[in-house]
């Protein structure tokens, strides 16, 4: 079975994209008039890609992620996830979502927090236990299952929330500034861990961030966005290898990509003034 699946696994470049947006629009009606959160967004994300969305506040990066998750409904254009509408994809458990705040329930242990989606989706108790053990191991929290969230550091809490998003085997992981509230050192460590986790699980990851080094370090594709209206100004396919030690950030290739991202962001800001 497994061999067959591997043998027939088609080349990444020729397969249908996992997430596909075509001239996507989203306009919020507010008291101060319409706000164009997204305007004419075209983007294809292939299976197994690590895509970062970067841009200033109001550029629509989080809104785009929320559209993929069917938490917002676009007002124009088309958006498919695994070939389905975002709503259908959600019901098919296509993605796990990680918010900026870990959002663990204080009245549940780490184990029980990870069990939350599994309970809601109706997994059996033994299946729940097996999955909890597996994802706790993935985020290196195996000894902390019985702890309550307040007994863990901020970085550990965020790892637990990633484990929660991984527990039900969604192929797509959507992360909205998951490490934004953490300090630089913890962030570096979590970035390394996330790359490792991505390599092991082969998930497709959509990652919203404010940080240029973080975006360049993590991604196979960097989407630069700018505000008013929220739109994509540049898409950079990273030439960096899949294996990335932290010191890759000092190589000329890395700095070159970072430079291009910064230029893209600056262009977006010039439009602003």
């Amino acid at each position: 079975m497994l061999d067959q699946a591997e043998a027939s696994a088609p080349d990444r470049s020729t397969t249908k994209p996992v997430i596909s947006a075509k001239s996507l629009d989203l306009t919020f009606q507010t008291n101060d008039g319409p706000v164009h959160a997204l305007s004419g967004v075209d983007l294809d994300i292939g299976k197994g890609e690590f895509v970062s969305f970067i841009g200033p506040s109001g550029c629509g990066k989080t809104t785009f992620l929320r559209c993929i998750a069917a938490l917002e409904t676009p007002t124009g254009g088309t958006l498919t996830v695994n070939g389905m509408s975002p709503d259908e994809a959600r019901r098919a458990r296509a993605y796990g979502y990680v918010f900026q705040a870990a959002g663990l329930y204080p009245w549940r242990t780490i184990e029980k927090n990870i069990a939350l989606p599994l309970e809601i989706m109706g997994y059996s108790k033994s299946e729940q236990d097996a999955r909890i053990e597996r994802v706790l191991d993935l985020v290196e929290l195996s000894n902390f299952g019985k702890k309550y969230p307040w007994q863990l550091s901020g970085g550990m809490q965020q790892r637990a929330s990633i484990a929660r998003a991984l527990a039900f085997d969604a192929d797509i992981l959507l992360m909205d500034e998951p490490f934004g509230a953490l300090d630089e050192i913890v962030r570096d460590h979590l970035n390394e861990q996330l790359l490792d986790l991505w390599a092991r699980t082969e998930k497709t990851i959509g990652f919203v961030t404010h940080s240029i080094p973080e975006a360049v370090y993590l991604s196979t594709k960097i989407v630069v966005m700018s505000p008013r209206p929220g739109r994509i100004t540049d898409v950079i396919d990273s030439p960096l290898p899949k294996e990335r030690p932290l010191d890759i950030r000092d190589t000329p290739e890395f700095l070159q990509i970072a430079h291009r991202v910064r230029e893209g962001l600056r262009a977006g800001h010039a439009y602003d003034d």
């Binding site: 998750a69 938490l71 959600r90 019901r91 458990r93 993605y95 796990g96 979502y97 918010f99 900026q100 705040a101 959002g103 329930y105 204080p106 009245w107 549940r108 242990t109 939350l116 989606p117 309970e119 809601i120 989706m121 309550y148 307040w150």
Partner: protein, 310 residues
């Protein structure tokens, strides 16, 4: 244990202040008693004493001040007198094997406690149900909430007799039910307000998270909103049970009831036995303290079981 010293200091200050207040409060009564016993008091006539301030009377009749601490019907009884009366109507009767005698505050406290607990149960159920309806329905939120607030602006003393008359009109025997209704009327409001706040406490991200799991409304309620509301609920319940006790006592006051702590207070007033009033007051206060403490213990146990730092 470190808290014991400050608590005892405050307690001692209150008792000292109370004892000090007894002298001016009871000087007139003490001089009346002394006059009737044929003693020399200044001025000799009760009418003339009426025109003088208590301070002047105390100054001119210093030797009769101690008499004010041992009156049968004092304006302000001493803490010792209240304590003795309380013991006489509770512990002593229990020791004599008649704790449920009509003259025992244990009996009257039990009557009041029953109505309080029924009212508390009814008020809590109503408050929680109202809160759930308010949180889940915009229409209910806009229609019910103003009435809930208005309901608390009507003085309960005015409402209590009406509830008793109306419930006897629909054929409800006895005072237990109307008293429980009055009690519930005071108790449901804090529960409602606290529960609404608690059920609404989860943030947008928390609700979005459940949406990404395609969780049903019932699942969101049971797994997120209800547990998140627990700390708020317990705070409200502690206010609610104290309000329920007040409601019951008010329900016993103007209604010709003969049993219950409220009835004891009213009867004490009518028969001019202040000691009985004060003993009933303290019995009510002790009862309220015990009930709130019990809820506090349940809260700690529950929140600890839920893993929250209580």
């Amino acid at each position: 244990m470190r808290a014991a010293l400050p608590i005892l200091t405050v307690l001692a200050a209150i008792v000292a202040l109370w004892y000090a207040a007894v002298a001016p409060m009871n000087i007139r009564g003490a001089l009346d008693v002394a006059e009737r016993a044929g003693e020399d008091v200044v001025p000799a006539e009760s009418r003339a004493r009426f025109d003088q301030s208590v301070w002047r009377l105390m100054l001119n009749n210093a030797e009769y001040i101690p008499l004010g601490y041992a009156l049968d019907r004092p304006r302000l009884p001493t803490p010792g007198q209240v304590g003795a009366e309380l013991w006489k109507t509770t512990g002593e009767m229990a020791l004599r094997g008649r704790p449920m005698s009509k003259r025992s505050l244990i009996y009257h406290g039990w009557i009041t406690l029953q109505s309080t607990l029924w009212g508390f149960a009814l008020g809590t159920v109503l408050g929680m149900a109202g809160a759930i309806a308010i949180v889940y329905s915009r229409v209910v939120n806009m229609s019910l909430m103003p009435w809930a607030i208005i309901s608390q602006t009507v003085p309960i003393v005015a409402l209590a007799p009406m509830i008793i008359v109306l419930s006897s009109q629909v054929g409800i025997e006895g005072r237990g039910v109307p008293k429980a209704i009055i009690s519930a009327y005071l108790c449901y409001f804090p529960v409602l307000v606290g529960m609404v706040k608690g059920l609404r406490s989860p943030g947008a991200a928390q609700l979005d998270l459940l949406k990404t799991y395609s969780a049903s409304g019932l699942q969101a309620f049971l797994k997120l909103r209800l547990p998140a509301s627990m700390p708020y609920l317990f705070t409200s319940l502690k206010i609610g049970i104290a309000a329920a006790l007040v409601g019951t006592i008010v329900g016993e006051l103007p209604t010709g009831a003969i049993s219950g702590l409220g009835a004891r207070i009213l009867i004490g007033d009518q028969f001019g036995t202040p000691l009985a009033i004060w003993a009933a007051l303290f019995a009510a206060a002790i009862l309220a303290g015990v009930l709130v403490t019990l809820l506090d213990l349940i809260q700690r146990a529950t929140l600890r079981r839920m893993g929250m730092q209580a």
